[in-house]
Symmetry: C2
Subunit: 119 residues, 2 copies
DNA sequence: GACGTACTACGATGCCTATCGTACGAGCCG
DNA sequence: CGGCTCGTACGATAGGCATCGTAGTACGTC
């Protein structure tokens, strides 16, 4: 069962520790539709995804910016894997800090999305 | 029992309908520390409070701005009562739109505040 | 009517941020 | 090595927003 520990590349990225994660920062990060969409997709898939996987309606450089905001606010963890940069929700950390928050937010986002599509 | 139905003044203020309330807007409104503090106090008191009741660390005009953001995002309802402007959480509306969200957010905010004061 | 209080409107300012294009670096593959 | 893909860095830009001070309006009270 050599699950191929996916060889995290050399370059490391700075992440906030749990103590450094601020609720205001998380809320601000999720208050942007593009970033909320990214987080929703990450949650839906349940696994780490490369930046290129997402179909965001912005340019590549803007996309990079949004991923950085998510990382610096403590919402996602980013790790290089070859040329790809894998993104994973920091579910456990967020759950420990703000119990139930992520799930409630995701549910709220889904409800709103359903609301909109019920034309 | 003339509970003095508090005579809402003539001037009316525009509020978003429930359909118009956007999750992103709510999150953005609450991502500011001043506004989050206002909402926390409103929730703690449980009743409508005049703007002047709050001890915010900003000027009066900035305070007005924050209350407007909260109103326009659908988080609070504002009604004039004489010279005072009463502010109330739109608990029921928010609960209907995003079940559990407000309470989860308030709990998260409290936890974070406690974290900080545990020196 | 005169005064005080509560809040607003307006204009200014400086910062933050979402957006882009272009040029570049890091790793894979042939 | 040469090229390809993925993502970054940088600079520019335009709009948003938190902040303030001042001047003004609405309302209650004397």
């Amino acid at each position: 069962m050599t699950t191929a520990a996916p060889v995290p590349s050399s370059r490391e990225l700075p992440h906030p520790t749990c103590e450094e994660i601020r609720l205001e920062g998380v809320l601000h990060a999720l208050s942007d539709p593009v970033r909320l969409g990214i987080v929703r997709e990450l949650a839906a898939e349940g696994v780490a995804l490369a930046c290129s996987h997402f179909d965001v309606p912005v340019s590549k450089s803007t996309s990079t910016h949004h991923f950085r905001v998510l990382r610096e606010s403590g919402v996602i963890r980013q790790v290089y894997e070859g040329t790809a940069k894998m993104n994973a929700l920091r579910r456990d950390d967020l759950e420990a800090l703000f119990p139930g928050l992520l799930d409630t937010l995701l549910t709220a986002a889904t409800r709103q999305a359903d609301r909109g599509s019920e034309v």
